[in-house]
Each structure stands twice: as structure tokens, then as C-alpha cells.
Amino acid sequence: MSDTTYTSAADFDEPIENQPFDTTEGERVFTVTGGDWDTVTPAPDGEKDRLVVNMGPQHPSTHGVLRMIVELDGETVEKMRCAIGYLHTGIEKNMEFRTWTQGSTFVTRMDYVAGVHNELVYSLGVEKLMGIEDQIPERANVIRVIMSELSRISSHVVAIATGGMELGALTGMTAGFRDREIVLDVLEAITGLRMNHAYIRPGGVAVDLPNGIEKTLTDMIALLRKRFRDVENMLVGNAIWLGRTQGIGYLDVAGCLALGVTGPILRAAGLPWDLRKEQPYCGFENYEFEVPTQTTADCYGRFLVRLDELQQSLNIIEQAVDKLTPGPVVVEDKKISWPSQLVVGLDGQGNSLDHIRHIMGQSMEGLIHHFKLVTEGFRVPAGQAYAAVESAKGELGIHLVSDGGTRPYRAHMRDPSFTNLQSVAAMTEGGMLSDAIASVASIDPVMGGVDR
């Protein structure tokens, strides 16, 4: 941009690409930015005056690297289309070149806000292909439930936090991220990492829970119960919050099902559909929890559903802590489970010294076995399988195809963010531009999952 200030159309001496041009439909198109507005002449009487605004991919209110192309009439959204792909990293293709165990490390980076769900569904898919679902030890399943719900909490508080930020409720953001830190600290205590855990692996989990985690979890539950009440007190019934979210971004059950929308959006439309209840995995049928619903089918309803789900997740973790009994955390089959559990040593997490002593000094066969299993990996029978979990955003599915080798032949993640984001047009067209922001925030897409 030059720094010339245009005062009338006559002063317009921009390069040719910035000159107005006529489309094949006979419409006049102006490309303008910041200081050019005076150069635009209003449409002649009787002709339609429309403004096409490009929001994103770098925009503080589009919930990540999402680009929205909005056709405006005044402040009314006439058409809205999303452009995605700015975060496409080819994770699915990359997985075809790594072992089945390494896959956990890749999938956790898809929907990185709730990465544990990705690891869980991937592991369930591999286990389904191998037919070892029934061999997963009880303790591993309880740990998976705890991790899954921790992940749901951290995702939901981020949904409320970023949603609040995008609507101007900055205290909602600070409160949400503060609460997320609490959860991330617990996740770090369990997996060693705040994000990108690669903790749940085919056959079980990477490492047993640390000592004293029961108390950590109980303390966390007590603290979060109080914190969530604070968020509730701040936003539920808040006149400004209601004004921005109530009756906004309407999508009913029929619309949700047609567009494949699941998760809090579907439940806020009134359908109590939750895979943890409908098709239980990891022993979710043994936990008592409710599926919160609302009937308003709007942004506010989705917010309330998420708030209620936070409480339910805390209830589930509370029950899971009671169910923790000592035992193995990976399948017994030594052809699948890695020969040693990881331990934390002076130089970080790694193989236990006992195991190193065993394979380096005592057993050549043990060394060979370790080497083959870690470098080559295990084989998965040829075939295809689909596994699904209820992630924080909806049905997270994985379609895995094996050719009988040590690497996935094809892995496709059915990410709920990707599918749910399709509904933006249905939610926003005909509404105000500011409501489009609220709608996207209520969908809570994570672009890492959308673009993979």
C-alpha cells in the first residue's frame, strides 16, 4: 500500500490490479483495503451493493487459522464460505511411513487441544484390527477413561475461554486458560508432557500412573468444582453474554444429522446422543454419568452443555479413581507390548535400568526381541476397521486399513471439527457478522484436527 490518501475517485492511481473491474455477470468489483474506502462509489440506484470480506486466516476471532469469505449486505451475512487447509500437515500420509506404535505420536497432533482422544481412538482402531479389544487390562481401561475425561475438560474450558475472548469476554478467557493449566499440570504429571502426549498406545498405555496420583486427581476435582462455579457465576445469565449467544447460530437436530454434526452442538439441539452411552468403550458402561442436553439449539445452549459436561467429566474421574486397582497397563502379549515400562530417571523418562541391564548384560534374546519390536514393530492383520469415541467435539472416528504389515496402509481420521465446521454457513447466513463469530466459537473447531 502507498501512503497516499485518496480523497476522491479521481485521485485513484493505484496499480492495475487494484483498479475496479467488471465481472462476466456484469458486476463492478472494487478491491479495497484500509484507506481506500473513499474511492468506492456507491452502487447506482436499483443495483445491489454487496461487500465481500475476507476474514482470516490470520484473524483473532476466527478460532485458529480459519478463513471465512463473507458476502455482506450492510452488516447482514448473505453468504459465508469457509476456506480451510492452512494447517494441513499430511499427518495421515506420514503415518503410512511409521510403525503402528509411532502412530500415536502423530495422531495426538491432530486435534491438539484434546490430543488424548485421538490417541485413544487410534489405539481402539488398531486393537479392533488385531482383535485384542478384550485383552486390554482393567487398569489400562480405567486410566484411559481418566485421561479421556481430563482431555475433555481441558478442551471444553478452552472452548469456553476462546469463545469468550472472541466475543469480548476476556475474563472468560483468563479463567478458562487458568483452569486448563490445572488440568495440563495433571496431564504432565501422568504423561510427562503438557500436550502431544503419545500416552495411550495400541495395547494399553505407555507408562503406569505415578505414585500419589489419586490425591492429585482428588485435589484437582475439588479445585475445579470451585473454579467452574466461578465461570458459571460470571457467564450464566449474564445479560451481555446472553445477548451475544442466545438465539444465535441456530441448528436443529435435522440440520445436525444432515450435516453430520455431533457432540455438544447436537446435544444442545436436544438429542442426548453420546457414544460413551450408546456404544460404550473402555468400560464407560460402568460409570454413572448423565448426558446433558439443551433444547435451544443455539450458541448459549452449547455453552451450557459444555458447562454441564465439565461437571459430568469430574464425576467420571472421581469414580475412576475409586476403580483404580493395581495391575498391568498393557496387554500381556509380548509380541505387542514393549518389553519394559518407561521410568523417570536422572536424565528424564526412558527405559528402566533393570531392563537395560537385562538386555545388555544377561539376555541376547531379550535384546533381539527389544530391538525387533521397537524398530520393526508388530504386524497387524490385513483388513479395515472403524473405531469411534465421543471426543470433546463430537464423534471422533478413525478408519484404519492394514495390509498385514508393520505400518498402517491407510489411516483416516474422521475429525468432528472438520465435519462440524461445515455447518457454519447454515448457522450464520441471514444473521449479523458479529453473530458469525459467536457461531464459529460455539462450534469450537480446532484447526489442527480440521486440516490434519
Binding site: 480451510i84 511411513f97 488385531m130 444432515a258 514393530g377 497387524v380 492383520p381 472403524y386 474422521r414
Partner: protein
């Protein structure tokens, strides 16, 4: 490690392996449609030889003579058991005379009931699965492509997963198209959620979904050449150098068939 985990031919009835479309018998009773009785066959999707996938250099491991076929799932036998028979019967009844042509095979893959469908009949099959009261698969979980370059005449597969919220059922529908004619009818009219999913499958595999309202690339840039998740598209990894040693890119490391 042994190859025990793969499909063991001894356990499966030996069947002629043909890659083409299985012949459907006109005289087949509705009960036989999609089963071995109507000519449905287990196909060879790929052929693997050697232990490490080494090509062009002698393999001294002793495993170089290994030869293994990757087979598709065998056709299921009637009765399928449980609600699977209901779904099959209702679908066949709803499709009427075209059922024999539309349904190529019923099978169980990964524990889930799978219907292999002729691509021309795909929209009719999905419409029937969605609308018929006794079927009611209201929720589609999208489209996933799979590329089997050695499955002659059926190189590109499109896999649809459907869920019935009414009956709490889950099925898979699979269709194929040849690489030389990569066209599959669009099903956006039946399941609007397929809009982005079909765009993604076009983008990644080059399957043209005829009748899609706006079939453009979705994840890759608009002017990108090629379809990245096809097997003939390289990963494009670059070797990593560290302290003088070089680690080859993942697509150039030793692989184990």
C-alpha cells in the same frame, strides 16, 4: 516375527482369485445376493514378496522368498446373524430388481457389516439406507478413500461409514472405481455432510464425485499438482543430517512387508 497374523489361506476356503467384477447370476435368489452363491469372491488387493520389501538387490536374510497376498475380506455366509440379515433383506427388498447389480458383496470387516456396492448404484443404495424406516441410517460419518494400485480395475476405493441413531446400528458401505475412469456419483444430495468429505477425497485421491456442487480442492492449495495420498505420490521426505551421519527420509528407510 512370523506372518501368522495375516489371513491364513488354509483357514479360508480356496477360491479362484480374480480381480475383475464378480459375475452376478441373474437367477440368484434375493437371499444369495452379495454372497458366494451369487459369485461374490475374495479378491487379491496386493501382493507382497520378500521380508523387507527390498527391490533390486540380493536379500541375504533368508526371508527373500516370502510371498504373501493381501486379500479382501471373504463374502459373508447366510445367515449373517443378528440384525445384519434384517438390514440386508430390507435393503435388497427396497432396491428391487436392481439389487443383484447394486450389491456386490456382504462381508464382515473389522467386526463391522460391510456392503460392497457397484458405484453406479451408490446413490440409490445410500438413499435407501437413509430413508427406509427399518434401516434409517441417518448419520453418515463421511468418505474415506483407499488406494490399492494392484487391485486391477478397482484401484480406488471409497468407504462410507453410516450410523443409525434410531436402531443403534453401524455399517460400512464400500465402492470402487478404476484408476483409468476415476468417477463415483456424488452423494451430497443424500448426505449433505459428504460435501467436504468428497472434496477431501478428490483432493487426496483424485476420485471425481460426479454431481458434487463444487468439487474443488479443500486441504491442498488450489493449484497443487497431484493427489498426495495416492500410493504413487511420494512422501517427499528429506534425509536428516546430524553430527556427520545421515538418517534417510522415512520413505527411504527399510520397510517390512
Amino acid at each position: 516375527m512370523s506372518d501368522d497374523s495375516t489371513v491364513n489361506p488354509a483357514e479360508q476356503p480356496e477360491q479362484p482369485e480374480v480381480a475383475g467384477v464378480p459375475a452376478t447370476s441373474d437367477a440368484a435368489s434375493p437371499q444369495a445376493i452379495g454372497t458366494a452363491g451369487a459369485g461374490a469372491q475374495q479378491r487379491v488387493l496386493d501382493d507382497r514378496s520378500g521380508a523387507f520389501g527390498i527391490q533390486g538387490s540380493p536379500d541375504v536374510s533368508g526371508y527373500g522368498m516370502l510371498d504373501r497376498a493381501v486379500r479382501s475380506a471373504p463374502p459373508a455366509e447366510r445367515p449373517f446373524g443378528g440384525w445384519y440379515d434384517t438390514v440386508a433383506d430390507e435393503l435388497i427388498a427396497d432396491l428391487g430388481t436392481s439389487a443383484g447389480q447394486a450389491i456386490e458383496q456382504f462381508s464382515f470387516e473389522g467386526g463391522d457389516f460391510t456392503i460392497h456396492v457397484n458405484r453406479e448404484n451408490l446413490p440409490a443404495v445410500l438413499q435407501s439406507l437413509r430413508d427406509k424406516e427399518t434401516l434409517r441410517f441417518e448419520l453418515s460419518l463421511g468418505v474415506s478413500g483407499v488406494h490399492w494400485p494392484a487391485d486391477a480395475g478397482r484401484e480406488l476405493h471409497a468407504v462410507y461409514h453410516l450410523r443409525s441413531l434410531t436402531h443403534k446400528r453401524f455399517i460400512r458401505v464400500e465402492t470402487t472405481c478404476p484408476d483409468s475412469d476415476p468417477h463415483i456419483p456424488s452423494t451430497v444430495q443424500v448426505y449433505p455432510t459428504h460435501d467436504w468429505h468428497e472434496r477431501e477425497t478428490w483432493d487426496m485421491f483424485g476420485i471425481v464425485f460426479d454431481g458434487h456442487p463444487h468439487l474443488t480442492r479443500i486441504l491442498m492449495p488450489d493449484d497443487w499438482p497431484g493427489h498426495p495420498q495416492r500410493k504413487d505420490y511420494p512422501l517427499g521426505g528429506i534425509p536428516v543430517e546430524y553430527k556427520g551421519a545421515t538418517t534417510p527420509a522415512p520413505d527411504h528407510r527399510r520397510s517390512y512387508n
